[in-house]
C-alpha cells in the first residue's frame, strides 16, 4: 500500500512524516494517523529518524528543554532516549541514544537558531490537521507553575491565610467585648435616662 508523506519546513530544518490514514475511522486518504516513520533533517547535521515510539519523547524533550531555557531554569533534559544540555547561552548539546546495543550515541551540537527551527517544525506538526498524533504527551510539557498556578503550596497559603487570620481575630475581639458587656446594667441605665 502506498504510504502518505507530509513535510514541515522551517529555515534549515525539515520534518518528514510517513504513514497511513486510519480507514477504520473513515479518514480521508491524505490523512496520517498511523505513523510508520519520521525523519528530521537538519542542514549540515546527521539525519535523525525513527519510529512513532520515538517521536513523542523527542518532541517532548525539545519542548521541555526550550521551556526550561527561556524560563530561567537549569537547561538540562535527560531521558533514556535523548539528553539535551546547554554548552553556553548560544549552543546546545544533543545526545541521541540508540535502543540497539553496540550503537554509539549520536552527538549533535546546535545553536539557538536551529533549536527554534526544530521546535517550529514540531509546532507545525502539532497544528497540522492532516496528522493525528497523541498531543496530550506533548502539550503538557509546560512547567507546573504555568498549568496550575494555585497548586503551589506557598501561593495557596499566601492567599488563604490572611482572611482566616482576620476572621479569627475579629471573632476573638467580639467575644472579649461580649464578656465586658453587661445587659442588666445597661437596662438600668436606660431606665434612669428615660424614667416612665
Amino acid at each position: 500500500m502506498l504510504q502518505n508523506k507530509l513535510s514541515f519546513h522551517q529555515s534549515s530544518v525539515s520534518l518528514e512524516i510517513i504513514g497511513l490514514p486510519d480507514y477504520s475511522n473513515n479518514e480521508d486518504k491524505n490523512q496520517i494517523s498511523i505513523i510508520s516513520e519520521w525523519k528530521l533533517n537538519i542542514i549540515d547535521k546527521p539525519l535523525i529518524e525513527g519510529k512513532i515510539d520515538h517521536l513523542g519523547p523527542i518532541m517532548s524533550a525539545f519542548y521541555t528543554y526550550s521551556n526550561l531555557l527561556i524560563t530561567n531554569q537549569i537547561p538540562l533534559y535527560e531521558s533514556n532516549l535523548i539528553d539535551i544540555k546547554a554548552d553556553n547561552l548560544h549552543m546546545h548539546n544533543i545526545v541521541l541514544k540508540s535502543s540497539k546495543p553496540d550503537v554509539k550515541p549520536l552527538i549533535i551540537k546546535i545553536g539557538n537558531s536551529l533549536l527554534s527551527d526544530i521546535v517550529n517544525c514540531f509546532d507545525q506538526l502539532n497544528e497540522s490537521s492532516k496528522v493525528q498524533i497523541k498531543k496530550s504527551c506533548i502539550f503538557n510539557t509546560f512547567p507546573k507553575k504555568v498549568r496550575f498556578p494555585l497548586t503551589n503550596k506557598a501561593d495557596f497559603f499566601n492567599i488563604i491565610l490572611p482572611p482566616i487570620i482576620s476572621i479569627c481575630s475579629l471573632s476573638l475581639i467580639s467575644y472579649s467585648l461580649i464578656y465586658f458587656y453587661n445587659p442588666i446594667e445597661n437596662k438600668d441605665k436606660n431606665e434612669l435616662i428615660n424614667p416612665k
Binding site: S11, I70, T71, H90, N112, S113
Partner: protein, 142 residues
C-alpha cells in the same frame, strides 16, 4: 506604530484596538517608559497585544534567526548582532526612563546579552498559528 496598527487591522482586532491612540495609550502602560501612565489594561487588550506580538515575530523570524545565529560562532565578526544591539540601546535611550535602575540594567552592555538572547528566543518559538497562546504561557511564567 503604523505597522502595529496595520497588524491589528489585519488580525481584525479593530473592536479592541480601534485606532493608533488606543495602541499608544496601551504602550504607555509600561512603567519603564518615559511617558508612563497607569491605565488598567483589560484582558481583551492584553490578548490583542499578545496576538500582535506573535504575528510580528512571525514576520520578523528570518531577522530574529539571523541575530541569534550571529552570536553562535564567536570567531565570526557579528555585524548583525552589533547593529541590533546598537539600535536596541538607541531605542531604549530614546523612549525609556533611563534614571530607573531596571532600565539602566537593560542598556548595560555587559549585562543585557542574556536578556536579549532569551527574549529573541522566546519570540522565535512563538511563530506558529497558536504562537500567541504559547507566548501568553511564557509571559505568565516569567
Amino acid at each position: 506604530m503604523g505597522s502595529f496598527f496595520a497588524l491589528s487591522d489585519k488580525l481584525k482586532l479593530n473592536d479592541v484596538l480601534p485606532n493608533k491612540i488606543t495602541i499608544w495609550k496601551l504602550r504607555n502602560n509600561n512603567p519603564l517608559r518615559k511617558s508612563y501612565t497607569n491605565n488598567n489594561i483589560k484582558i481583551e487588550e492584553f490578548d490583542a497585544l499578545i496576538k500582535i506580538t506573535a504575528e510580528m515575530s512571525k514576520y520578523l523570524y528570518p531577522y530574529i534567526r539571523e541575530i541569534l545565529q550571529s552570536k553562535e560562532d564567536p570567531k565570526k565578526n557579528s555585524i548583525v548582532w552589533n547593529s541590533f544591539h546598537k539600535r536596541f540601546i538607541e531605542l531604549i535611550n530614546e523612549r525609556f526612563n533611563t534614571n530607573s535602575v531596571r532600565v539602566k540594567k537593560l542598556i548595560n552592555k555587559t549585562e543585557n546579552d542574556e536578556m536579549l538572547i532569551k527574549s529573541l528566543l522566546t519570540l522565535s518559538l512563538c511563530i506558529s498559528k497558536e504562537g500567541n497562546k504559547k507566548l501568553k504561557k511564557y509571559l505568565f511564567n516569567f
